[in-house]
């Protein structure tokens, strides 16, 4: 412990970092949560007190070292405190997705043998009570929101504030115990246990040590020059490794402020009010935002519409060059202010001078060559300052766009201050990516997984592209094996899968190399990593050509009206696809075109919708055909599903990744229909409502043929 912790100055656990922050940044904001319409703030010093009270309360409750404490709720300071308090007493926090059904929770809580759970409200309490009998080790539950819980049996149920009060009351007796437990924490003790979303099979408990979390947070914070002045909005599920790293690891390492939204529905408003400087979102969020912007622009007046499109077209070329924020946006000191003031004054003077000069020159030109001058001015962009040439003009035009379009738009989206933004989890559409980049938002991609404590590769500033995921993160080694599968080794490499030595052994070899399960390659020119697909999803078509479903699905999903696509064709002679439409985008389109519909199902089956989806499919086929390696993956037939794929039905993971095998199995009749050439199939599907009840929907689906583009000539030559 002594040697390894030198790099971090003896700070070998999150509670140790908390102590440091409370001493160093005592009056700086650590947590904010909007409650009753006002942002409530806790400084680091207050946070330390709260966490201490809770930790003492937990000891008082009987929490032992090594116990597992399940944390179930949406992002709230109380839960972050709970995690750190659990760590302080030597227990292991296990965040669980709060929208999991009771059975899913039963598996996770049973698997780790959790004795305690800290949950949000009645909904979660009810779920745990439902499964409590099957959990033999379970002892106590703590809830935060007492609403509706007053009449419950309180022998095993405690209110969060009572636990804290008991902790405060027992301060003198227990503080020694807490201190000694806290001091026992070292670099190799467990920091947190996170369950993987389980794209295939049951979720696995990934054990991450303090070393994993702190080293990864340190490296990534240095990579992006994160400071204690960052603001982040925590809204991603707490059970996801990303949120743990951003809202706990990096926040404690750098000492920045974590903001929690008022409720899930107010996320967009809160985002705007906070204006984070460091932002993380899966591509889906960016897609949704973009779709909303486009829909609202369609409804806007002519002038706004024209301005928006003119400047957005311009930004595509100039945004990358002139829009990106400076490396650090730290508050300027007096010296910088004077310097900046001087610059502004100079700039203003210069601009005045040129305008006057231009005016005079224009007047003379007009006087002397009237008609010619008019032609000259007409030919150029009808924008001010059109006498400037090249770069300077672009620069000024981008600034102007910033005032008129980009700035207000970024502000509306809540991205006004974003200095570093990341997207990960899935591929992002190049157009979506370009849109945000051209607005001057430094959106980058990273590639990671729970087992690596997030970071495997990330894009450095200035080397950002839509189709790669960047270079290896600091201290990460990567190798690619003969099958094209990516392996890595890093300080963030997980300790083990809890209670699952077989899986641990099959994923992590004795030298510490971890198989990602993704296939990819390094681009020779740039040294960036490119991901092709999940290694196990990549298959072969009947004729031996490569089958990479994700590649084609992503191309489809880049269309705003396609929410999800699933491609089938492994081992077959041709590919077929399921498509989910995006209700917001297609619904808006339907409204615009006077198409009446009553439900998702009706809209999904509308012939005009099918027509437009068919166009997209055919366009994708043409683009797939360009790549001789993957030309076999063109979609021959497709259908639009009558229901949205949903995590409650087990068709997706809680992080919204499609469970391919389950979908193929559940909709077997539809896949068969696509292959046997029938033009329609009637089917009945079981659906699960949010409260766990089951129902079913039946539909008759139209199956369509899509035109396949001729494959590039290389195939013949082979």
């Amino acid at each position: 412990m002594a040697q390894s912790s030198q790099a971090t100055g003896g700070l070998t656990s999150i509670p140790a970092l908390l102590q440091r922050n409370a001493a160093q940044f005592a009056d700086k904001d650590a947590y904010r949560e909007k409650e009753f319409g006002i942002w409530q703030t806790w400084t680091w010093a207050m946070t330390e007190k709260e966490i201490e009270a809770l930790a003492l309360g937990l000891i008082n409750l009987g929490v032992k070292e090594g116990d597992f404490v399940a944390i179930i709720g949406r992002n709230r300071p109380y839960f972050y405190w709970s995690m750190v308090a659990a760590q302080s007493v030597g227990a292991v926090p296990v965040p669980v997705y709060q929208d999991s059904a009771a059975e899913e929770m039963e598996y996770i809580l049973g698997h780790c043998g959790a004795k305690y759970a800290i949950v949000e409200d009645q909904e979660q309490v009810d779920k745990i009570i439902e499964i409590q009998e099957k959990l033999h080790t379970f002892e106590h539950m703590v809830y935060i929101d007492p609403r509706g819980l007053r009449k419950y049996d309180h022998r095993q149920l405690h209110e969060f504030s009572h636990i804290q009060a008991q902790g405060r009351a027992a301060h003198d007796e227990l503080i020694g115990e807490l201190k000694s437990r806290r001091e026992k924490l070292d670099y190799d003790s467990t920091c947190v246990m996170l369950y993987t979303s389980g794209t295939t099979g049951k979720p696995k408990g990934v054990v991450l040590s303090n070393r994993n979390v702190i080293e990864s947070s340190k490296n990534s914070a240095e990579f992006d020059a994160l400071t204690g002045d960052e603001e982040i909005l925590s809204y991603l599920p707490m059970a996801w490794v990303g949120d743990f790293i951003f809202s706990v690891g990096q926040a404690y390492w750098c000492g920045f402020c974590v903001n929690c939204p008022e409720s899930a529905d107010t996320m967009m408003t809160d985002l705007r009010e906070i204006g984070p400087t460091y932002y993380f979102a899966p591509p889906r969020i960016f897609e949704t935002s973009l779709t909303n912007v486009m829909i609202r622009m369609e409804d806007s007046g002519d002038l706004k519409y024209a301005l928006f499109h003119h400047f957005m077209d311009f930004a595509k070329t100039a945004g990358e060059k002139y829009g990106m924020p400076k490396r650090s946006l730290a508050k300027p000191d007096m010296k910088r202010r004077i310097k900046n003031g001087w610059r502004y004054a100079m700039g203003l003077g210069f601009a005045m001078e040129t305008i006057v000069e231009n005016g005079i020159r224009m007047a003379f030109t007009k006087l002397r060559h009237g008609s010619k001058a008019r032609e000259h001015f007409k030919a150029k962009d009808p924008i001010l300052l059109n006498l400037y040439r090249g770069n300077l003009r672009d620069y000024f035009k981008y600034r102007m766009g910033n005032v008129l379009v980009y700035g207000p738009l970024k502000d509306t989206l809540g991205f006004g201050r974003v200095r570093v933004g990341y997207t990960a989890g899935e591929a992002i559409g190049p157009e979506i990516f370009e849109f945000y980049r051209s607005l001057g938002i430094n959106l980058k991609q990273l590639y990671g997984q729970t087992e690596a404590t997030v970071f495997i590769t990330a894009q450095p500033d200035g080397e950002v592209r839509a189709d790669t995921v960047g270079v290896p993160s600091p201290d990460v080694e990567i190798k690619i094996d003969d099958n094209g599968e990516i392996h890595y080794r890093s300080p963030g490499t997980f300790v083990e899968y809890y209670n699952n030595p077989e899986s641990t052994a099959s994923t992590k070899d004795p030298e510490g190399w971890v198989a990602t399960g993704d296939a990819g390659f390094f681009e020779e020119k740039s040294g960036h990593l490119r991901i092709i697909d999940r290694a196990k999803d990549v298959g072969k078509m009947a004729d031996g050509s490569m089958f990479a479903p994700k590649y084609v699905e992503n191309k489809l999903k880049f269309y705003p009206d396609i929410l999800e696509a699933v491609l089938f064709g492994n081992g077959k002679d041709r590919c077929v696809a399921f498509i989910n439409i995006d209700l917001t985008a297609v619904g808006n389109w339907a409204e615009r075109n006077n198409i009446a519909y009553a439900s998702y199902q009706e809209l999904a089956g509308h012939p005009k919708v099918l027509d437009s989806i068919q166009e997209h499919v055919e366009a994708v086929n043409r683009s797939v055909a360009d790549d001789p390696m993957l030309a076999g993956c063109q979609i021959h037939r497709f259908l639009v599903l009558h229901k949205e794929l949903d995590a409650d039905d087990g068709e997706m993971t809680r992080t919204r990744k499609v469970r391919r095998v389950i979908v193929a199995d559940k909709f077997k009749d539809l896949v068969d229909g696509l292959y046997d050439g029938s033009s329609s199939v009637s089917t009945t599907t079981e659906v699960t409502y949010e409260d766990g009840r089951k129902g079913s929907i039946s539909a008759t689906l139209e199956l369509r043929d899509a035109q396949v583009a001729p494959v590039a000539s290389k195939m013949a030559a082979e």
Binding site: F36, G37, R147, G148, E262, D265, E690
Partner: protein, 270 residues
């Protein structure tokens, strides 16, 4: 009229009678809307009034809220006979209501609408309000605090600043409930709180009604058509048909009452 308290199966305490209707008869010209109806509402209970269309349920609620003055009969409230009153005087006694067809200020935001529910508590006069110093400011802060708690309670934070006119029906109903709740009533009258809602919205609304009763101890009198909801929610039910009371008792008693079954399912006339 009973003065004893008892505890229900689910652990709620039902107090003594707070309001009693004694032989109420209400006529509109020649039409008898309500004929000789008596029933009581006990403290902390959820009391439902049900009946087929035109049975006089809403009229009954209007009698309670003071909008209609019955020609015959007496309304006893908190142990005293209530003289004929204007609706605002009834409101001052701590009786709030929602309406069957929503009556909100469409152009105002949700927050402002709910704030109107606090008007009874605001004492600052027009000039103080205009200057916005001292009393007026203090009052607004205090009342805003209460309102924010209700907004949080009914989970309408996301629409706090949205004009009511832009909201869907189900949410408007919830905003109306919020406004009624903002008055911190001792009796809350709900006129068909679940009309026109889908199953999910109904479930939400039921939960809110139960939580309100549980959390604030509010006595609730509600009119509802959805029998399932009524039977699940309420402690006691009054059944009306053609302006007459045909049943009164716990949901189980009412369910097995032959008159009620006839009124709802119809009777064969031979």
């Amino acid at each position: 009229m009973s003065n004893d308290s008892y505890v229900t199966d689910d652990g709620r305490t039902i107090g003594p009678t707070v309001m009693e209707m004694k032989n109420i008869t209400l006529r509109f010209g020649g039409v008898k809307a309500i004929t000789d109806i008596s029933f009581d509402i006990r403290e902390g209970e959820i009391r439902a009034i049900i009946g087929p269309n035109g049975a006089g349920k809403s009229s009954m609620l209007n009698v309670i809220s003071g909008f209609y003055v019955p020609q015959e009969g007496e309304v006893w409230y908190k142990g005293a006979k209530r003289p004929p009153m204007k609706p605002y005087q009834v409101a001052e006694q701590g009786i709030a209501r929602t309406f069957q067809n929503i009556a909100l200020f469409e152009g105002m935001t949700v927050l402002d609408n709910v704030m109107t529910g606090r008007l009874r508590q605001m004492k600052a006069n027009m000039f103080e309000q205009a200057i916005w110093k001292g009393k007026a400011e203090r009052e607004e802060v205090e009342n805003r605090e209460v309102v924010e708690k209700i907004i949080d309670f009914l989970e309408i934070q996301a629409i706090r600043k949205t004009p009511v006119g832009r909201l869907p029906y189900g949410l408007k109903k919830r905003v109306e409930l919020a406004r009624a709740l903002a008055a911190e009533p001792s009796i809350l009258l709900l006129d068909e709180p679940m009309a026109g809602m889908n199953v999910e919205e109904k479930e939400d609304m039921s939960r809110f009604i139960l939580d309100m009763n549980d959390e604030f101890g509010t006595t609730i009198a509600l009119i509802e058509h959805d029998m399932g909801v009524v039977m699940d929610l309420s402690d006691r039910v009054v059944v009306m048909d053609y302006g007459k009371k045909i049943g009164d008792g716990t949901p189980d008693e009412v369910r097995n009452n032959q008159d009620v079954i006839d009124a709802y399912l119809g009777v064969a006339h031979d």
